[in-house]
Amino acid sequence: MFSERAAPTAQGLLGPPSAEPPTFPRVPVLGYSDCSGLFRPGERSFGRQYAHVYAVRLAGMRPLLQRRARSRWGNDVVLRKLSELQVGEKCCVVGTLFKVMQLQPSILQEISEEHNLVPQPPLPKYIQPSDELILEDELQRIKLEGAINVQRLVTGTILAVYGSEQDDGRFLVEDHCFADLPPPLPWNGPSSDRFVLLASGLGLGSGSGEALLSTQLLVDVVTGQLGAEGEQSCAAHISRLILAGNLLSQNTQSRDTINKAKYLTKKTQAASVEAVKMLDEILLQLCTSVPVDVMPGEFDPTNYTLPQQPLHRCMLPLASPYPTLHLVTNPYQADLDGVRFLGTSGQNVSDIFKYSSMDDYLDILEWTLLAGHISPTAPDTLGCYPFYKLDPFILTECPHVYFCGNAPRFQSKLLQGAEGQRVLLVTVPDFSSTQTACLVNLRDLTCQPITFSGFGAEDEE
């Protein structure tokens, strides 16, 4: 992408300086609209129970699932609620999945005295062969067995199962289906090359400086201070930069200060203060040249529950005067130059990774799109705000670019849907460990990773 355009003038700078170095104007923003209104609950009150989240989720997705069920198993399939089930009758039930996992961390078990349990250390995966699936609806629940992959599914998914109830009270599943891809959005993409750079996991404040040169190289390439003329003109076509979370490193969390006595920690400054100052300087350099959208992540100074609210602009005094800086929520949805972007900082995908047998981040990302819900495991194992009116994580329209941040490596796939949907799935790798960012070309929905590297003491690059 970059390279083909830039190649002709590759060696251009290996010569005497020209009288007037060419400058390139940044491509203007054709159209930008932030569609993340759903992710900003106006009033936040935590007085409600989380059961309402599941109730609105089921109510919101039930019509869609019923339509899918009819289209899949015939128009005359019997749709029943759990309370209306009759033994032996083949029918279809729509409900919420609940997975009973023995290894699932439970705070009640931990503090229960009769068990005398040592708190469970965090495991990479909590699945076990003995896990069971239970289908719940508004009133009842029933155990599922049969043609359903227990290991792969996670709690909170809404699905439709087709089968019959057995004598022993379990439901024998013959087939099941999810909400599938949401209806497509019209395509208004640009006709010429335009790029959006996706990066995540900058990991500032980590105390190790290897990624810092790469970060500076990234900033310099985007602002046009590196590269020959061809490359610079390509960089001028980057219309936006999206930082998808984890701008601060995990080391800035300083969790041990909570356990230490106050007199030991009184004079120490939180590690995140220094890191945010560094972030501010980097953002200032970026904002003078390109519009930036900053999404918070797991280790960033904002709230923990999803949807995470934007970082506060008082933390970024140098960069916030610039109108090119946009502090946005996690998850983030926006229309950039006619292309709908939807993405998270990766907490939803990594949570599903822990509770499911799916190993590939791209697979999980695709599965959430097919299940019609950004984060089904919230609020069970992932913190989330107790919604009661509507669940904003239900996918109602199919985005054109669907990304998740802080993945272990870069992957991308173009998914074609039955109703004409075209989605580019991108897993944005963690920059602090891979020094890789993603360039998405809006014209043809292709994605290319871009790696930055310096040289270390070792000879091999």
């Binding site: 390139f24 500076q216 190289l217 200032l284 005067p321 990773p449 270390g456």
Partner: protein, 369 residues
């Protein structure tokens, strides 16, 4: 440009060995997809890197050093330093010019900042409740120190446990103005007289007059504390009053003053209150004192404890020197009881009688409580 320089220098063969680092960018087949790679390489690795890339997008000189670099970190460090010093002009030399990146005008920002500051200072106050010594600088609004004091006094007053006293404080807290302050003492004195006896009233009437001009001086100070100074003379502890005078200047001091007031109520509670007083006096002695210990000079002079050793003690208390205060504080503590006795002995007239009456009624009063 740098390339040109390198070429010229090398042609000159001036002997100084220049090590050049290049920036190479291009496409590289990695993990099954074409990855655009941007790398900083040493000169000797340049050709190797170029051969690895299938398409070369750009090559140029990144930096020149005299010494051979083992690591790319010095490159980053120098770059970082330069960038830091030129943060606001960092795009001056960049090839890409963005029209949208014009910083917003300042007035947008300070508005938000003041509201943030206001809220943060309120939080400072609440934090300072637990650390009175640290909060040397008073927050801008007079309300804040008064509320703060109420909080601290709430803690101390719990021991004194006098409701009228609290209402006193509250009324004082709500009277920031000097004018109101001067009008306040009489009603407050009425209340306090309940504690200290009627004779105190006479003394108080004498006091507000000379206090007036000095009170006006203190307009600027959080005059929350000020009204208290007038009822103070009733108390037979001028030392405390001097303390209270000092407390007017600083929030801390007003806290201590209130502490003293409560201690006054408890009065004869021996070691506890004295210890408390001592601690707080030391706190206030740390602060740099300003002059206007206004109400105090007149009142002790009036009370005129003639006994010479006590006068110096008084005077040391009056003078705002910190050292003296601390010394005086210690002396004060011990002499407190004596002074009151001196009132009894040497004061004449109603004041003497008042002095006479005071300790007894004071103790009575304490017993009642």
């Amino acid at each position: 440009m740098l390339y040109d320089y390198v070429e010229r220098k090398r042609k000159e063969n001036s002997g100084a060995q220049l090590h050049v680092t290049y920036l190479v960018a291009g496409d590289l087949l990695q993990n099954g997809h074409m990855c655009h790679k941007v790398a900083v390489v040493r000169e000797d690795k340049l050709e190797a890197m170029k051969s690895k890339l299938s398409t070369i997008a750009s090559v140029h000189v990144y930096s020149i050093q005299k010494a051979l670099l083992k690591d790319s970190s010095p490159l980053y460090n120098t770059d970082y330093d330069i960038v830091k010093t030129n943060l606001h002009n960092c795009s001056k030399f960049s090839a890409i010019h963005c029209d949208a990146a014009v910083p917003r005008v300042r007035p947008d920002i300070p508005r938000a900042q003041t509201s943030l500051q206001g809220s943060s200072q309120r939080e400072n106050d609440t934090d300072a409740r637990s650390a009175p010594a640290v909060n040397g600088h008073g927050p801008p609004a007079a309300k804040h120190p008064s509320q703060q004091h109420k909080g601290i006094m709430g803690m101390f007053a719990a021991k004194a446990a006098s409701k009228p006293q609290d209402t006193n404080k509250e009324t004082k807290a709500e009277a920031p103005g000097v004018s109101t302050a001067s009008s306040k003492p009489p009603p407050k004195n009425n209340i306090i007289n309940n504690f200290f006896g009627k004779a105190a009233m006479n003394k108080l009437k004498v006091n507000p007059v000379p206090e007036q001009p000095k009170e006006e001086k203190e307009v600027v100070k959080p005059s929350v504390v000020e009204p208290e100074s007038s009822p103070n003379p009733v108390v037979e502890k001028p030392g405390k009053r001097t303390e209270s005078a000092r407390t007017q200047q600083k929030d801390r001091k007003s806290k201590t003053k209130r502490v003293d007031r409560s201690d006054n109520e408890e009065e004869r509670d021996p070691e506890n209150t004295k210890r408390k007083r001592k601690r707080i006096k030391q706190l206030e002695s740390d602060s740099s004192d300003e002059e206007a210990d206004v109400p105090q000079p007149p009142t002790p002079e009036e009370e005129k404890a003639p006994s010479p050793p006590h006068i110096p003690a008084l005077k040391t208390e009056l003078e705002p020197a910190a050292m003296e205060v601390s010394a005086g504080g210690r002396k004060r503590k011990r002499k407190r009881v004596l002074k009151s006795k001196m009132f009894i002995d040497e004061e004449e007239g109603c004041m003497g009688k008042a002095g006479c009456a005071l300790p007894l009624s004071g103790t009575h009063f304490i017993d009642d409580f």
